[in-house]
Symmetry: C2
Subunit: 491 residues, 2 copies
C-alpha cells in the first residue's frame, strides 16, 4: 500500500479525509451530504453501540423505536424548538411515483400529495412526547427511561465524513420524570456515562460543562456537554445531555397524577451521541501513517503476520501462528492470523498500520529458533521482542498499556492546550498561535458571545461543571464577570 | 389486569391487534401507517437481531450502512425493479422549512426545492450497486458479503402492526460474486440460515421454496422464500433470498476482471427479514390469554413471584426468591424476581401470561416448609411442583422442553393443514373449510395464477425445494402439469 495520505502538518483537513477514505471507514455517496459507512467504519460504530447500549441498560434504560417521519405541525408546538430545528430538514411531500409517459423514466405522481407534509426526523422529541401522552397517566408510569438507536437527517450544505453529514446515525435517550430534581439527576448521570465512555473506551479526555443560553439545544432549559480537543487545536462537542424541564410536556400536554392525585406536567430529559464520535476518535489519535485506535474500541486488536522464506518451515510458522491466535482468542483478545500469500509482509504491515490495529506480531524463522516473536505497537511504533512463553498474558497487558498511553498522550496534549487569556489581545493571539481551549472571563451576555464569534470564529464551548468562581472582567466588553468560560474554535 | 383481548374464535384479526397492544409490543403512531415499537416489542426484535447478526457474521458477512435516500433516477436503471418498487414510496422534494409569516406555524420553503427528488429507500439494491461500482474492480474484491440493518419505507394504505407498516425495520444483505454458481450457493445458504433461525429460535416451522415468476422480487432471476402458517390457516412469507443474476451489475455497470484479466459483470444476491417476524411469532403461537413466546427468543424467560401472607416470613420468601433468581441467572437464564407490593399475585400471573413469559415460579409459605416451588409453564398452562434441590437445572431442562413443544405444536398444526386438491371444487372447498396450504397442480402460467388469485384470493406461496415431480392436470385450466405447488391465502 502506498502511503498516499496528506500529512497533518501539510493540511489537517485533507489528512482527515484521506485517512477516513484510505482506511476504508467511509466514503461519500451519490446522495449529496450522505455518507456510506464501510464495513471497517461500521464495525467501529458497532463497538461503540455495544458498549453504550450496555451502559444504558445497566442504568435501567430500554430501547424502543419511533417513526422516521414527523408531521410538520408537531414542530410548531414547542416554541423554541421550532426555531432551532425544523429548518434544514428533508420534507416528504408525496407518497407515490408513476411512469413518466412523456419523458420516459419515472415521475412524482402529482395526485399523491400528502395533506400534511412529513419531516424526516432531525431529532425525535416531538413525536416521542406526542406518544408519551398516551403512555403516562400516573406517577406509577414514571420514570420512563427510553433510548432509541436511529438515523436522523439535518440538511447540511457543507459536510465532512462522520463529523457533519446530512444523514447520521445516533442514539437519542428520552426520559420522563415526576420531579425536576430527578430529571436533572438523570441529565447529569447520562453526561457522566458519556464522559466515562469517551475517556475509558475512546481514550478521549473530555471536559464536562454546561452550554450558554445561545448554544443550548432548542427547547432545553440546560444543555450539558462533553467537549474534546482534536490534534489541530479545535474543539469537538462529543455528546450532549439536555434537561428539558416541562417544555415538551406542556407542548404535548403530558400530565401525570402524583400520589395525592394532583396533576402536574412531566419533567423531561434527552441525550445523544452520534457517528460523529467515529470522526472524533480518528481525529484525536491518528497519525500520518494511518489510524491509531485504542484497543478497547479497535475492531481487531492484534494481527499475527508470518514471515515466510519460501516454503522453508512454512508449516511450522503456520502452526505456531495459529496456536498463538488461539491463545489470544481464549484470553478474549480479537486477533487475526494473516497467512494470505498474495501480499508481502511489508505491504501487510503498512495496511494494518493504516487500519490502526493496536498490536502487530511478526513471526519468522529466527523467532522459531529463539522462541520469540517480534511485537510492534501501533501507537508509539515501538518494536519489542517477547518470549513465546505466556504470550497471551503479555499481549493482554500490552493492550492495557496502549489504551492508557493513548489516553495519557491525548490528555497531555489537551491540558497543554488550555490557556488563560486576560485581555482581548492575548485572547486573539492564543487562539491563532496556540489554538486549543482558552479560559477567559465573559460578561454573560449573548451579545458579547456573538460578537466574539463573529470576530474570531471562536465559540463558548462550555462553562465547566464545578467551575471556580472568581471576580474578573470580560475580555471583550470589560464588564464584570464572576467566572471564566472555555472558548475555542470548534468542529 | 383485566383480560380484554378478543378471542381468536371470535375475530382472529382483532385478537392479534388486541394482543399486540395489550402485551405492549407496539402501537399505532401519529403518522399514518407508521408504528411505535414499544420496549417489550423492541426487545423481541433485539433478540432476533442478535441471533441473526451472529449467524450472518459466522458465515463471513460484515455490516455496513448506506444512505436512507435514493435519487429518483436510480430506480429507472433496472427495468423490472422500477415496475415492482419505486411506486408507493415516500418522496422528498424539499430540504427546508421556514416560518409562515401569513398563517403562523411553519411552511415548506418553496425556494428549497431539490433538483432531483429523493426517494426514502424501499430497499437498497440501487444505491448499493451504484456504490459497489467503486468498490469492485477485480476478482480479488470478490466475494463482497455485506449486510445492513436499516429502516425502509413502502407506503401502505392498509396497515397492520408489524405485519404491514409503511416504515419497518429489517436487514438487507447484498452480496457480489464472481460466478453464477457462487451467487446461487449464497442465495441458498441465506435461505437455509433463515429457515434454521425460524425453526430453532422462533419455533416456527417453515417451508422452503421458490416463488413463481409473478411473485418474484422485482429485478430477481429467482426468489427463494420461507413460508410459515398462522393459526387462522393463512400463510405468511417470513423471509426471502434473491438470486439477482447480473441484472443490477448491468444496470449500474459493475464489472470485474477475472484471473485472466477478462472483464465480466458481477453476480448478485440480496436477502432480508424484517420486523414482520415479530408479527409472525405472535400469530403463530399465542393464545386468548396473551403471548406464548419460545424461550430462546423470550426477553424474560422466568419470573419468580413470592406469595406473601402479610409480613409473615416475608424476609425468608424474599431471601429464597432472590437466591433462586441468582441460581437461574448463573445458569444463563434470564429471570426476574417480582417482589413489587403494589400488585397482587393473581394480577401478576395474568400480566406475565399476557407477556408470554415461558415459566412462572410461585413461592409461598407452604413451599418454604416443603422445600418446593410451584412451576407453571405458559405454553400448556400446566402446573407442577418442583423440589428446590437443583432448581436451575430443572428449569433449564423445562425451557428446552417448552421450546421443543411449541415447535412441535406448530409443526403438527402446519402439517395437518397441507392438503392435496385434485379438482377445482376440492380446491375451493379446502381453501374455505380447511384453510392452510393446498398442494395442487398448476399449468405454470401467470395467467392461471392471477385468475386463481382473483377468484379465491389464494396465491402460489412457493414451489417447494426438491419438489416431487409428478404428471398431473392444472386444477384450474386442466392443462398438463409436472408438479404440485403450494397455494394459500396469505398475509
Amino acid at each position: 500500500m502506498s502511503k498516499e495520505i496528506t500529512s497533518r502538518q501539510e493540511d489537517y483537513s485533507q489528512w482527515y479525509i484521506d485517512l477516513v477514505k484510505k482506511s476504508s471507514l467511509a466514503d461519500n455517496s451519490a446522495v449529496k451530504g450522505c455518507m456510506v459507512i464501510k464495513p471497517y467504519g461500521f464495525s467501529l460504530w458497532e463497538k461503540m453501540q455495544a458498549q453504550l447500549d450496555k451502559m444504558f441498560k445497566d442504568t435501567g434504560h430500554q430501547n424502543a423505536y419511533f417513526p422516521l417521519f414527523i408531521p410538520k405541525s408537531f414542530f410548531s408546538k414547542e416554541a423554541s424548538h421550532v426555531e432551532g430545528f425544523a429548518k434544514e430538514c428533508a420534507v416528504v411531500t408525496h407518497y407515490r411515483l408513476k411512469n413518466d409517459e412523456v419523458n420516459g423514466g419515472i415521475m412524482v405522481d402529482p395526485e399523491a400529495k400528502l395533506e400534511e407534509e412529513l419531516i424526516v426526523r432531525p431529532t425525535s422529541e416531538t413525536i416521542i412526547w406526542n406518544t408519551y401522552k398516551t403512555w403516562i397517566q400516573s406517577y406509577r408510569d414514571l420514570p420512563l427511561l427510553i433510548n432509541q438507536w436511529a438515523n436522523v437527517v439535518r440538511w447540511e450544505m457543507r459536510t465532512r465524513l462522520f463529523l457533519r453529514t446530512s444523514e447520521f446515525l445516533w442514539q437519542e435517550g428520552h426520559t420522563a420524570h415526576a420531579t425536576s430534581e430527578e430529571a436533572i439527576a438523570e441529565t447529569v448521570q447520562m453526561l457522566n456515562i458519556y464522559a466515562e465512555f469517551a475517556e475509558n473506551y475512546l481514550a478521549l479526555p473530555v471536559i464536562k460543562g454546561v452550554k450558554t443560553a445561545n448554544e443550548r439545544f432548542a427547547g432545553a432549559i440546560d444543555t450539558y456537554c462533553i467537549e474534546a480537543l482534536m490534534q489541530d487545536g479545535k474543539a469537538l462537542q462529543a455528546g450532549t445531555s439536555h434537561f428539558l424541564g416541562q417544555n415538551f410536556a406542556k407542548a404535548f400536554d403530558v400530565k401525570f397524577s402524583d400520589k395525592d392525585n394532583k396533576l402536574d406536567y412531566v419533567w423531561a430529559t434527552s441525550w445523544g451521541v452520534s457517528t460523529r464520535l467515529v470522526g472524533a476518535l480518528v481525529m484525536a489519535h491518528s497519525d500520518d501513517d494511518g489510524l491509531v485506535l485504542p484497543p478497547k474500541i479497535a475492531p481487531l486488536q492484534v494481527v499475527i503476520v508470518p514471515i515466510y522464506k519460501g516454503a522453508e518451515k512454512k508449516d511450522l510458522l503456520d502452526a505456531k501462528g495459529k496456536e498463538f491466535a488461539q491463545q489470544l482468542k481464549a484470553s478474549g483478545i480479537s486477533v487475526k492470523f494473516d497467512d494470505s500469500e498474495n501480499a508481502r509482509p511489508g505491504w501487510k504491515f503498512a495496511e494494518y498500520e493504516m487500519k490502526g490495529v493496536p498490536v502487530r506480531i511478526a513471526l519468522g524463522l529466527r523467532d522459531l529458533e529463539n522462541n520469540t516473536v517480534e511485537v510492534a505497537r501501533r501507537d508509539t511504533r515501538e518494536k519489542m521482542v517477547f518470549g513465546m512463553e505466556g504470550l497471551a498474558e503479555k499481549i493482554s497487558k500490552l493492550l492495557d498499556d496502549i489504551q492508557q498511553s493513548i489516553y495519557d498522550k491525548a490528555l497531555a496534549f489537551r491540558d497543554a492546550h488550555i490557556s488563560k487569556a486576560d485581555s482581548w489581545a492575548e485572547f486573539e493571539r492564543l487562539l491563532d498561535e496556540k489554538t486549543g481551549f482558552i479560559s477567559a472571563h465573559w460578561d454573560g451576555t449573548t451579545e458579547t458571545e456573538e460578537q466574539i464569534k463573529e470576530k474570531t470564529k471562536a465559540t463558548i464551548r462550555c462553562i465547566p461543571l464545578n467551575n471556580e468562581q472568581e471576580a474578573g472582567k470580560c475580555i471583550f466588553s470589560g464588564k464584570p464577570s464572576t467566572q471564566r468560560v472555555l472558548f475555542a474554535r470548534a468542529y
